[in-house]
Structure formats: C-alpha cells, structure tokens
C-alpha cells in the first residue's frame, strides 16, 4: 500500500463536501478531524469523521468562518493539513496564509494565486497579460459618445453600456444596432447620474445566448499543469448552477482544445497548484469564448469530471498538497462517456423554489449502475435553516449522453426524500425538455415560464388523491390513534407560505 499523504487532516467545512473530503482521506489512510457548529452535532460529516470538535454557534460568521478557532482545533487535534472544501474559507487568501504561518499544509493553491484571482478586475488584467481572451470591454469610463461608438463598432454589436458606479445588474443597457447607439448612450448616462450620482459609463461586448463552460485544471508543485476537459454549467437559476454535464454537448473539438490550452495558460500565469477551474463564456453563435473567472478550489460539480476521466479530484488534491508530482500526463487523461449532475436543493419547485428546510422523515437514495449520490443528509436529519439549501448531488454516468440522461431520469424517479420538498421532481422534467435534450441551451435557459412549466409537469395529482384518500380512511377507521387537531385557519396557514398562490 502507498503511504498516506498525511497522518491527519482537518476538514473546515460541513455538508456533502465535508463528507466527500472525509471519504477521500479515509481511502488514502488519512485520519480526519471534523468541525461543527452548535446545530451540526447531528450532521453527517460529524458521523463520518474520525474526530469532531465544536467551533461555535450556528451562524457561519461565528463558526465555519472563524479561522482562528479552526486553527486552534487543528493544533489541539494534531492535524497536519487543512482542507477548506468550497465556500466558507476556501477562497480566503488571508486564512490560507494563516494556515501556512501556523506550520500547517493548506490543501489548496498558494495564497498569492487566490489573491490574484480574487479580484475580478485584477484577474482580468492578469489574464489579458497572459494572452487569455476576455470579454472585450473598456473597463474604464469613456469620455465621449464619439469615442464610445468607435469602440462599439470595433467590438461589433450588440454591446452593453454599463454605469461605472452600477452593479448587480443595475444601470445596464443593451444596444443591438448602431442606429440606436446615440439614444442609448444618452439615457444610460442620465440614468447613471440619477441613480448613482455618477454619469460615468463604460462599454462591453454583449455575448448573446452564451454557454457557461469551464475547464478543470490540476497542477502539482513541480510545475506540471494538466486540464481535465470541460463542464457545461449553463443551466442556472438566480446565478446558481442547477444541472451540469460533461462533455459540453455542442462544443466543437477544436474549441475544446483551444479552451483547455488557454485554461492551462491561465493557471500557469498565477503559478497555480492543486485543483482549480477556469470559467468561460462560450458563444454558440460566433464560436468565441471569453475568460470569466477562476475558482481557486474544488467545485461543487467536480464529480462529473471524475466520472468521465476516472481521476479522483479530492484524492488528487491531498496527494498534490503532500508534494507528490502528478502521476499521469496530459495525453493519458481521456474523456470517457458522459456524466450529468443534478443539485438537489431543499426547496419547493411548485412554490417559486422557496427554501424548504425541515426534517427528512423518509429517505431512499437511488442506486445501481453508474449512479452516484454525494449526500450531506440522512433519514431522520433536520435540514437546518442556517446554511446553503443544497442537500445532495446526484451524478450519473453513461457510455454516451443519451445513456447518462436516461439513467439520471431513472435515478430521479427512484429518489425519495420525504418530509421536506426538494427540486428532484423538477429535474425529471428538465432532463426531458427538448431544448435541454438538444444540448443548445444557454445561461438564459431557465426562464420563469420554463421553470413554472417544468414544475407543473412533475405533478401526479390522481395518485396523490388516491394516497390521501387511503391515508385519511386509515386515520378515520383507526379512532384509537392520536389525531391532529384540525383548526379553522387551515386554508390560511397554507396560503401563508412565501409566494403562496392563493
């Protein structure tokens, strides 16, 4: 047997990703330390870990974000290294530095790489310098309408005019034709002046119906960087990824190669070490792609890359952090078959995807061939209100895309999560949506109309009626059983749910 990369690792996270990292550690013979907030004593990552320590109250700021407390636990438990998972402290360069300063190993990229990629504008400048294509734009305010039009013509229409002081989608205006430019320029400026008290406006090329395609990279500490191909993460809602697949169903092979090459370049430009992801916007219309940002950590959707390459990314992170040189070459990394991931959220698809924490009264996860569930919950678990609503990920592999999708639909139909509402039924409809099946969907795919249609399509009201009739009959004919009081406010209570239809 190979010797373990570390004796003991502290996993500074919770939920499915903590469970995922703990599994990788145990497989490598590494002992594990979990940390938990007051409401997480029952959590699955605590049940699966080798040791576990309380780090504070439920709010993340008082527990999972308390780097100082976590370092103290590492010291006390004798952990040699810290794995941050994703979210929380994973892209916090200061914490990464503190880990190193404490004489521990940080299972992630060097703090300098996190820093370089942490600021959007800084990363953009750095990538331009490294020859990585970015969305064409001025980044700085433009002085005159004439200059702006010249630039717009150089980029090619459509373009976006953006208030320099704006943000979060506000103060933006799309311009499709040269004829509309002058009017748009003037109204964007005046609106900017009114809304932000600053009429500075800059300009960016507008990428139409883009796909979100990202490249997984893996770099060791000895100067070798490889890519593990792409993931198509265009199915998004509220800027949150919902379904991911690999390979991207519409990416031309030449573009895949070019994008992967650029990703490796980008990682090398910041002396990256470990697992990282370069996100791109890909225009199906023009075939162009543009750097968006780099995520300097393991991604939620890393399993689909694992399924098609056969490379365990969490294990790879540990081995790389321990100083091991990459044990395979770029030529040996192959895309084998197709993989899809559905993120199972505790939310109500029939009610505008409102959060639905609560107690899971019954759980049956799907199984069988090429069905993987990375879960952070179990039957009897109370999903807390304090953290991200993602409770599990369903990942399915197939020899080709059709096999992967049909397997995923089968697995979703087997999946039973009772007591809370989840996004599971919505996925069975989504994976059969003609545009999804065609593979041409872009980031605008999940329009409000489509969301509602897919949620409605998952209903089985006739069966629900029969089940409710039988449940009620059982209760009414077993009078000995304790019965819940039925109060007159019934209809009110139901309608009180957020966004209730009543």
């Amino acid at each position: 047997m190979r010797s373990p990369p570390f004796r003991k690792v502290l996993v500074a996270n919770r939920g499915e990703i903590a469970v995922r990292v703990i599994r990788a550690c145990h497989e490598l013979g590494v002992r594990t330390v979990a940390v938990y907030s007051d409401v997480d004593r029952h959590a699955l990552h605590v049940r699966n870990a080798g040791e576990a320590y309380n780090i504070g109250p439920a709010p993340s700021a008082e527990s999972y974000l308390r780097g100082d407390v976590i370092l103290e636990v590492a010291r006390r438990s004798g952990a040699e290294a810290i794995h941050p998972g994703y979210g929380f402290l994973s892209e916090n360069a200061a914490f990464a530095q503190a880990v190193l300063d404490a004489g521990l190993v940080w299972i992630g990229p060097p703090p300098s790489a996190i820093e370089s990629m942490g600021s959007k504008t800084g990363a953009r400048q750095r990538m331009i310098a490294a020859g990585v294509p970015v969305v064409p734009g001025t980044a700085e305010a433009i002085a005159s309408e004439e200059e702006a039009l010249t630039i717009a013509k150089r980029f090619g229409f459509p373009v976006m005019l953006k208030a320099a002081a704006g943000g979060g989608g506000k103060g933006m205006r799309r311009v499709d034709h040269e004829a509309d430019f002058a009017a748009a320029w003037r109204s964007t400026r005046s609106e900017a002046a009114k809304s932000f008290k600053d009429d500075a406006v800059y300009l960016e090329k507008f990428v139409e119906n883009p796909k979100h395609v990202e490249i997984q990279v893996l770099a060791d500490a000895h100067g070798h960087t490889v890519h593990l191909f792409e993931r198509d993460c265009s199915v998004q809602r509220r800027n949150q990824k919902v379904v991911e697949e690999t390979p991207c169903p519409v990416l031309p092979e030449a573009t895949r190669q070019a994008m992967a090459k650029v990703a490796v370049q980008a990682a090398e430009a910041v002396n990256y070490v470990g697992a990282g992801t370069i996100e791109f916007l890909f225009s199906q219309a023009s075939g162009e792609f543009y750097f968006l940002e780099m995520n300097t950590r393991l991604q939620v959707e890393h399993p689909i890359t694992e399924m098609v390459t056969g490379i365990d990314l969490a294990r790879a992170q540990l081995r790389i952090a321990a100083g091991e040189p990459l044990w395979f070459t770029q030529a040996e990394v192959r895309q084998n078959g197709h993989a899809v991931e559905c993120r199972v959220y505790a939310e109500d698809p029939a009610n505008n995807f409102a959060p639905a924490p609560g107690k899971i009264s019954g759980l049956r996860e799907p199984g069988g061939p090429w069905v993987r569930v990375d879960s952070g919950v179990y039957a009897g678990y109370e999903v807390p209100i304090h953290y991200d609503p993602m409770v599990a990920k369903l990942i399915c592999w197939g020899a080709d895309r059709e096999e992967a999708l049909s397997r995923c639909i089968r697995a979703l139909r087997e999946y039973r999560v009772r007591g809370i509402r989840t996004s599971i039924p919505f996925f069975t409809e989504l994976l059969r949506d003609p545009e999804f099946v065609a593979g041409t969907y872009s980031t605008g795919f999940l329009s409000p109309e489509r969301l509602e249609r897919l949620a409605e399509g998952a209903r089985h009201d006739d069966i629900a009626i029969i089940a409710a009739a039988l449940a009620q009959l059982e209760r009414d004919t077993k009078p000995a059983r304790a019965q819940h009081a039925e109060v007159p406010e019934t209809a009110w209570k139901r309608s009180g749910r957020p966004g209730g239809a009543l």
């Binding site: 009264s361 999560v417 009772r418 009201d461 629900a464 089940a467 009739a469 019934t490 139901r494 966004g499």
Partner: protein, 163 residues
C-alpha cells in the same frame, strides 16, 4: 367513506371503501380504481392501482396530507362532508398567517391597524440565506403581529393575525 379532496386548486368528491384486508375501491372523476395497499414503512403508501405499482408518501399536515409521488410533493386538503357543516359554523372572517418554513424574521413590513390588500407582503423570513416575503391571502386589517424582528420561527408559527 366520501371525502372532498382538493389538490392544486381543484376539488373532487372521492369515494373510498375497503373491500378486504389491504384492498380498496377508490372512485372519483367517474372512474373506480381497484387499489391493493401495503405500508413498507410508516410514511409510505405502496399501491397497486389497477395493477400499476405506485408509491406515495403521506405525512399528516393541517387540513389534510403532504403527499409526494415520484418526488413531487403537494398539499392535499381532505374534508369529510359530514363534518363540514360544523366547520363552516366555526369559520371566521379573518385568519392567521403562519409560516410553513422555519427561519428568522428579518423585517416586519406592516403595523397593527394597517389596512392590507390581498398579496401584500407582511414580513420577511430568512432561511438558507434567502429572504422570503410572507403575504396576506386576503384583504383586511392587521389585528396583531405575533413575532418580533430577529426572532427564529419554526414551521407552523403564527406570524400575523388579519381581520
């Protein structure tokens, strides 16, 4: 037994009777289904409906059942017409807005005595890093606010009384 069962806004009259141990007839919309029922776990209703295998989970909730089929969960209201008259008599012209989602009250948007219109947000509950507006399902006057800002509430907690 006859029930008035409402799901997704449509009410149906459903007749259900046990024919023998584990076997039932369920009739609605002019069709009678033969159902063989077994209960593999306390919340699971495993049904062979005219031979077809279906499984539903049914968890008791106020006014009926929270039922899931193939992953889709919906609230099913069940009323026994024989008890209906009684209920109607007990009915009020107002009601209490509750939350079916645990969370933390982050903002209260109305004041006691304020006149509100159906659909108007009353307060905001935060759960899982998302803010959710709780709306009034009818026109009325805010009679009482039963929670305070910053308070953590459990499922079913009463938030606002409207009259």
């Amino acid at each position: 037994m006859k029930y008035e069962i409402t799901v997704n806004g449509t009410m149906r009259l459903v007749e259900v009777e046990a024919t023998r141990e584990g076997s039932f007839r369920v009739a609605f919309d002019g069709v009678t289904h033969v159902v063989d029922l077994t209960r593999p776990t306390p919340e699971a209703f495993q049904m062979l409906i005219d031979g077809a295998s279906w499984e539903a989970g049914a968890v008791s909730e106020e006014g009926g059942w929270m039922v899931d089929v193939m992953g889709f969960t919906t609230s099913v209201e069940v009323v026994d017409p024989r008890r209906k008259a009684l209920k109607m008599a007990a009915g009020t012209h107002g009601g209490t807005v509750s939350t079916q989602m645990p969370g933390r009250v982050v903002r209260i948007l109305v004041q006691p005595g304020e006149i509100v219109k159906k659909g108007q947000p009353l307060l905001v509950v935060e759960a899982m890093k998302m803010e959710n507006e709780m709306k009034t399902p009818m026109d009325g006057t805010v009679a009482a606010i039963l929670v305070t800002e910053g308070q953590t509430v459990e499922t079913g907690a009463k938030l606002v009384r409207i009259e």
